[in-house]
Symmetry: C2
C-alpha cells in the first residue's frame, strides 16, 4: 500500500502552529507496517488544494487529507474534492444526521455555519467522528482511496483509531506488527547499542530497535513483524530489559516521578524534599502525579541561607566555612527536612543553577544531592554545566531517580551520571 498525506491550513504555513498531526498519523499506522511515502502541506487555497489532490491521488493507493473540514469559509476540503471529481456538492443525509445528533448531545442549536459541514461531494461516504461535528469523507479518485479527516488532534486520533485503521486493515494486507516502548533514565542510546552489539551480535533482522530522547527520559522502542510478532516481542523485550537493567523505569508513557510514586506506594514509604537550586521542581513533579498525596509529605524550598538555618537547622558554622553548596549543608538540609517535615525518606539538593553565582571553586553546574533515610543517608556531588532550565530539569530527574533506586535497593548511580560525578 502506497500512502500519502496532504495537510491543509494557513496556520501550518505561517509558523503559528507546529504540525503534530502528521507525526500522530505516522505513529498510529507504523504499528500496522504501513508508512507515509510523502506528505505535502498547503495553505487554505482552493486552486492549490485541488491541484495537489489531483496529483497525489494519481500517485498512490491511499491519500489521507487532514484539515479543512470545519464550518468556516477557509475550510475547503469538501469543495476541492467535489471540483476534482467534477461532482456537485449537496447536503449529505448521513452527515446531516450526525450533525443533528451532535447538536442534541451538546445542547446546541444547529446553525448555518454548521450546516456547511453537511455539504459533501455527491456519491461520497462519511467517516464517523465520535468527538466533533466534522464528519470525515471517504471516496475514490481513480484507484486511489481518499480519506478526508478533521484537523482537531483529538478528533483525528479517534477517527484514525476507530474508523480509518480498521478500514485500511480490511482492505490492505499488512505485516502483523507489534511495538513496545520502554522508559529509561540515566543510560544513553550509544551505551544501550554497545551492550546490544556485545551481547547479541546476531540481532535478528525482524526485530527493530529504536530510540527517542524525550528529556529527561529515553524511550527505547522495540518493533517486531510477521506471524509470530507477539512471541518475538515478548522474548526480545525480556532480552533488552536484561541489558537496560536497573535503568528501566517501566513501560511508556512514564515519568521518573511516576516511577517513584509507584515504588514508594508499593513499599509504603513517604517522601519529603528540601530544595535549593531546583526551587520546588522535585516537589512539583511528585505532586503532579495523581494519588501522590499518600506518598509525598511535603517540601521546603530553602532558597536563602537564613531559611536553611531556621527551617532545616543547617548550622551557621557550616554555611560560613563550607558554603551553601557543600556536602555538610546538603546533609544537614536532608536531616533537617526529615525532622521538620517528617517522612521516611528525603531528597535534598543544593547547587548553582546559573547563569550567575558560580566561582572558580564552585562553577555553575555544581550540585550536591542527599537522599535516603536518617539512618542511611547517601550524599553525592555532580557537575552538570548546562543552561539553567536544562540543569533544573536534569537535577530534578536525577534526584527522583536516586530515591527510586534507594527504595528498590538498586546499588550505584545511573550510568550516565557516574561520568558527571564531581
Amino acid at each position: 500500500m502506497k500512502l500519502q498525506l496532504l495537510l491543509t491550513g494557513n496556520e501550518l504555513m505561517a509558523g503559528d502552529t507546529i504540525d503534530s498531526n502528521s507525526a500522530m498519523i505516522a505513529e498510529l499506522i507504523t504499528d500496522y507496517g504501513w508508512r507515509i511515502d510523502k506528505k505535502v502541506t498547503v495553505g487554505d487555497d482552493l486552486k492549490l488544494l485541488e491541484q495537489q489532490i489531483h496529483t497525489l491521488a494519481n500517485d498512490c493507493d491511499v491519500l489521507i487529507i487532514n484539515g479543512g473540514l470545519g464550518p468556516t469559509v477557509d475550510d475547503m476540503t469538501s469543495l476541492a474534492l467535489a471540483h476534482v471529481t467534477v461532482n456537485p456538492i449537496t447536503e449529505h443525509p448521513d452527515a446531516l444526521a450526525h450533525l443533528n445528533a451532535w447538536c442534541v448531545q451538546k445542547g446546541f442549536r444547529l446553525n448555518k455555519s454548521n450546516l456547511k459541514q453537511a455539504m459533501l461531494p455527491d456519491g461520497c461516504h462519511i467517516i464517523a467522528n465520535s468527538r466533533g461535528s466534522a464528519v470525515g469523507i471517504r471516496m475514490l479518485i481513480g484507484n486511489c482511496l481518499v480519506l478526508a479527516t478533521p484537523g482537531v488532534p483529538g478528533e483525528l486520533r479517534a477517527m484514525m483509531k476507530e474508523e480509518i485503521i480498521p478500514l485500511l486493515n480490511g482492505k490492505f494486507a499488512s505485516d502483523y506488527i507489534q511495538t513496545k516502548r520502554l522508559a529509561v533514565f540515566g543510560l544513553g542510546e550509544s551505551s544501550i547499542q554497545e551492550r546490544v552489539n556485545a551481547r547479541y551480535p546476531d540481532w535478528p533482522d525482524d526485530v527493530e530497535l529504536g530510540f527517542r530522547a524525550s528529556m529527561p527520559v529515553l524511550e527505547v522502542k522495540l518493533t517486531t513483524r510477521g506471524q509470530h510478532a507477539g512471541t518475538k516481542l515478548h522474548e526480545w523485550r525480556h532480552n533488552i530489559i536484561q541489558l537496560i537493567d536497573d535503568h528501566l523505569l517501566g513501560d511508556m508513557p512514564l515519568s521518573v516521578a511516576q516511577a517513584v510514586i509507584t515504588a514508594a506506594s508499593q513499599h509504603q514509604l513517604s517522601i519529603c524534599t528540601a530544595e535549593s537550586c531546583t526551587g520546588g521542581r522535585i516537589a512539583a513533579e511528585l505532586t503532579g502525579v495523581a494519588g501522590s498525596s499518600s506518598v509525598f509529605s511535603g517540601g521546603i524550598v530553602s532558597y536563602s541561607n537564613d531559611l536553611k538555618q531556621r527551617l532545616l537547622e543547617v548550622s551557621e558554622a557550616s554555611l560560613a566555612s563550607d558554603g551553601a553548596v557543600s556536602e555538610s549543608v546538603v546533609r544537614q538540609m536532608a536531616l533537617g527536612a526529615l525532622q521538620t517535615i517528617g517522612a521516611d525518606l528525603v531528597v535534598a539538593v543544593t547547587g548553582i543553577a546559573g547563569p550567575d553565582g558560580g566561582s572558580e571553586d564552585k562553577p555553575v553546574g555544581t550540585v550536591w544531592l542527599a537522599w535516603g533515610s536518617s539512618e542511611d543517608l547517601r550524599v553525592e556531588k555532580f557537575f552538570l554545566p548546562l543552561d539553567r532550565g536544562l540543569f533544573q530539569t536534569l537535577v530534578t530527574a536525577l534526584g527522583l531517580d536516586l530515591i527510586r533506586r534507594y527504595i528498590l535497593k538498586i546499588p550505584g548511580l545511573p550510568e550516565l551520571m557516574t561520568r558527571r560525578r564531581a
Copy 2:
C-alpha cells in the same frame, strides 16, 4: 517571490520527530512579507528526493531544502542535487576549509564521515554555518534559487538569520513588515476582539491582529505593512495596549513568573509561597527565572494537614471545622508562611486538584488563594474544574498574576477569572 519548502528525513515520516523546522522558517520569513507556498516532506529516499527537487524547482523562485546534509549514508541532499543538475560531486574547497576550521575550533580530528560533508555538486556555492559542521548549498536549478540547509534546529535558525534572509532580502523586493508580540494573562481572545470592535470599528486593513494561545499566556500579535510600518505599529501597539490594559504582562517572550520577578525587583519586594494543591509549582516557576534569588525567599509545600499545623501554624480547630480547603486555612497558611519564611509578600494556595478528593460541598477544581502582605492580605475562592495538570498550570499562573497585580497596585481580578470566582 514564490517560495517552497522540501523537508527530508526518515524521522519526519515515522512519527518519531515532530517537524518544528518548517514553522521556524515560516516564522522567520513572515516578518519580511514572504510566505511558504507549499511544503513537501519525504523520507531518506534518493529517487523520491531527486523527483521532488526537480518538480518543486520547476514551480517556484526559491526552494529551501531542509535536512540531509549530515555525515551519514542516509544524508543524501548533496547527491540528489548533483543528480538533478547532472553535475559530478566533488570536494568543495570552501566546504573543506569550513570543516577544517570547525574541527580546529572543537579540538576534533577531521574524520572520514565528516569529509563526506565537503562533497558537493560541482559549481555550487556554500552557505556558511556558524554553528555546525554542515555547510549549506546554494545553486540555481533553471531559474529557481535552491538553498539546502541543515536539519539541526539551532544551525538552521542561525543560517536563516545570518545568511539566507539577507540573501533573499537583497534579491527579492518585499513589503516592509513589522511585527510586535504581546504577552497577556487572564483576558480571552474573544474579549479582546470585542473591545477592538467596539472601540475601533474602522480598524485599518494594513494592521493585522492575531492571537496564539500558549497556555497559560495568550500571545497577541500585531503586524503592519508598507512604507510607514514602523510608525503605524507604534501607534496601534499603543492603542491595543489601552484595551488589554492591566492584563498586559509585557513583550513576548515572557512568562507570568518573569513578569512577577521584574515587578518585585523594581519595587524591591521579596516573595514567599505556601502551596498545597500546586505542590511547589509556584516556587518552581519563580526560581526558573534567572536572578530570582533576590526576590524569592523560599517556599513551603504543605501537602499534609500535619505540616500545615506545624510549619504554617494553621490551627487544628480550623482544619477540623472548615477543612483544609477553606478561607480560614488559606489565610493562616499565608500568614504562617510570612512569619516562618520571612518575606514582604506571600502567595498561598489550597485546593482540590483531583482526580480524587472531591466532595459535594467542595468538588474537584475548588481552590482558595491568598496573596499580599500580613497587613493587607487578599483572599479569593475559584472553581476551575479541569484535569489535574491543567488545573495546576492555571492555578500556578493565577497565583503569580495575583501577586503581580498586588505589587503593581492593579485593582480587581483578571477578567477571565472573575467568571471563575466561586
